[in-house]
């Protein structure tokens, strides 16, 4: 048929590629804006009955998504293909959040709190998700960062920005300390060691009054400032005036994005590969030249660093910290964020953290009953998705097709010649 031939001739591979690329970009943008809108709707629904109906609808949507293989594959391809667009849009949407919810300082505060937990969950994700080291004492680093930064600011007048770094480093030190005994044990026993460490450090925070002011906690932690601009002033963006919570929101969100970026780069690196290797088979890793001690210590220290950063921001945002903030329950919460989101998956862990900050806030009126619901939801989730909402992605290094083809012809010749030797 000459007509189709003509059409085919018009559609050069480049044109097809461009059309496909455009379609992928549009699909990515549509999905992201849709999900963002869904999240905003979920946040602003006031009536509890409506909110529960909303949650059920979202669950149904997720379930349907699981079932429609073709759409799932297309969406995955689209995101993979237009990663640049997706990241730009993500930054834009995140930046737009306080502007959209301008009238609702509470929700902006929740946004900032979510971002802080995203930072900490991503920190634990490095230890647990990347290196596979179970740490049930993560609140130690959270506390170390918060106390260090707060006490330096109060007693030495250190600026928040320096305190942030000091908080991170002090948390790193605590991670480094637990790494030593942790090197000697594996799996569940490692969980017990870190659990004990967490309980011990919490007890110390309650009793070392000269350092932590004991159970009374530390009050009047100064808010961050840039020059004469204090973070407790409302934020002026041109004609727009945002509530002061937006300052903390933008601060925490920026650091959360940086944390995600650093996590990504680490995962792609030789160090990330070494973590993968010790997670999969430590003995084989050691025999392949991986310094297992070294990379484990790094996993604990780097993970703890981000825990400390999160703690420092928290301390200066709330202005008050006490040992209650860094209890065993807090360690558990951060652990659950990572497991629910999907250990090893950066985006999944971030979403897990957001869900686990927002939902308890929404169910505040149920008081302690909400833990019951949570427990049940967690059990259901783990039965249906044992790897979390977003399972770990495999790293993919794609060998360019022409290079692969060249290698294949070259090596086939070798195999063929070996075959000939055998035949003789």
């Amino acid at each position: 048929m000459p007509e189709t031939d003509f059409i085919d001739a018009q559609l050069t591979p480049a044109t097809v590629n461009r059309q496909q690329k455009l379609r992928h970009t549009l699909l990515t943008v549509a999905i992201m804006i849709g999900l963002f809108a869904l999240m905003i709707v979920g946040l602003v629904i006031e009536r509890l009955s409506l909110f529960i109906a909303f949650l059920l609808a979202v669950a149904l949507l997720g379930f349907l998504y699981q079932r429609t293989q073709s759409f799932k594959r297309r969406a995955t391809e689209a995101f993979h293909d237009s990663r640049g667009t997706a990241i730009t849009l993500l930054i834009l949407l995140v930046a737009a959040y306080p502007i959209i919810l301008n009238q609702n300082p509470y929700l902006i505060h929740i946004g900032a709190l979510s971002a802080i937990y995203v930072i900490m969950a991503l920190g634990l994700n490095i230890t647990l998700g990347f290196a596979g080291l179970l740490d049930i004492g993560f609140a130690v680093y959270y506390g170390a960062g918060a106390y260090t930064s707060a006490q330096f600011a109060i007693h030495f007048g250190t600026s928040f920005w320096l305190g942030l770094v000091l908080g991170g480093l002090s948390a790193s030190l605590f991670g480094f300390i637990v790494a030593w005994p942790a090197l000697r044990v594996h799996d569940h026993y490692l969980g017990l060691v870190t659990l004990g460490y967490g309980l011990m450090m919490n007890l110390l925070a309650r009793n070392l009054n000269f350092l932590t002011n004991g159970t009374d906690g530390v009050i009047n932690i100064p808010p961050p400032s840039i020059g004469s601009y204090s973070f407790t002033q409302s934020l002026q963006l041109g004609p727009l005036s945002l509530p002061f919570q937006a300052n903390f929101y933008y601060l925490a969100v920026t650091i959360a994005l940086v944390t995600a970026f650093v996590s990504y780069r680490l995962r792609q690196s030789a160090l990330g590969r070494s973590w993968d290797a010790i997670r999969e088979d430590e003995v084989a890793a050691r025999c392949s030249g991986v310094n297992t001690r070294g990379v484990k210590i790094l996993a604990f220290s780097i993970g703890a660093f981000f825990g400390g950063i999160g703690g420092a921001i928290y301390a200066h945002m709330i202005g008050f910290i006490s040992p209650e903030n860094f209890s065993f329950l807090e360690s558990m919460t951060i652990l659950v964020m990572v497991v629910v989101g999907g250990a090893g998956n950066i985006m999944g862990v971030a979403i897990g953290a957001i869900i686990l900050v927002v939902l308890p806030e929404r169910f505040r009126e149920f008081e302690h009953l909400r833990l019951l619901f949570f427990g049940a939801a967690l059990v259901l989730l783990m039965i249906n998705r044992p790897e979390g909402l977003f399972p770990r992605l495999r790293m993919r290094r794609v060998l360019p097709a022409e290079k692969l083809a060249a290698m294949l012809t070259q090596t086939r010749q070798k195999t063929a010649s070996v075959g000939r030797i055998k035949a003789q």
Binding site: R273, A284, C287, S288, G289, L399
Partner: protein, 261 residues
Amino acid sequence: MQGELLRIEHLTKNFGGIHAVNDLDISVGKGEIVAIIGPNGSGKTTLFNLIVHLYDTTAGKIYFGDPPVDIARVATHDINALGVARTFQTLRLFPNLTVVENVLVGMSARLRCGPLHAVMQTPRTRREEAEAEAEALELLSLFGHRLISMYNEPAGSLSYANRRRLEIARALASRPTLLLLDEPAAGMNPTETHEIMNDIGDIHKRGCTILLIEHDMGLVEGLAHRVVAIDHGTKIAEGSYQEVCSNPEVIKAYLGSGAQA
């Protein structure tokens, strides 16, 4: 033989009251292929585990390199960095990592760029990674198209024989001077065994000294310059393939004392 690469002296390993390796002396010359044979449970794999320090030695010395260094107390990953790499009898790949990533992990001891370089993506990191990948590709191509065509697939999806090949490629990634192969032909059919024999020959030609454990006598006969037979952790015979195979001690160890030679 141009001198010794590995010299094991009076090596002993006790597990409780059991002498898994008992006062063993073995030496491997530069450029040699030495095969270790012996019945199951005779201490062959324990010997490998002692050489790479997965187990602590009870007594004895393990000298490696030129000039010789006692590596009995050196950490496993440092032994790898010194130039000893091994494969495992029970395959120990990283099943969820891709084929090429498995090989890249094998280069860990040589890669110099730390976490800061990785986060910054310095030109040095990028160069190092590109070079590593090029070398991985070259190592995979040692086995023809078999591994290259599976480049991006998880190692867990490989066929049994390909997993054995990948283990060898991963071991070679550290550019070892001494390669320890623990039953490279176990579970392979005769064609595959023949092919792996050729491959090991090629690897030897690249300048690798090889110490291997093997039950397949065809492979041992075809490759080994020298054969060491051990039983109950003690050396019972050493010499050429013919010498060792006709040694009455060896026949007794394999067939029992009642057997007629």
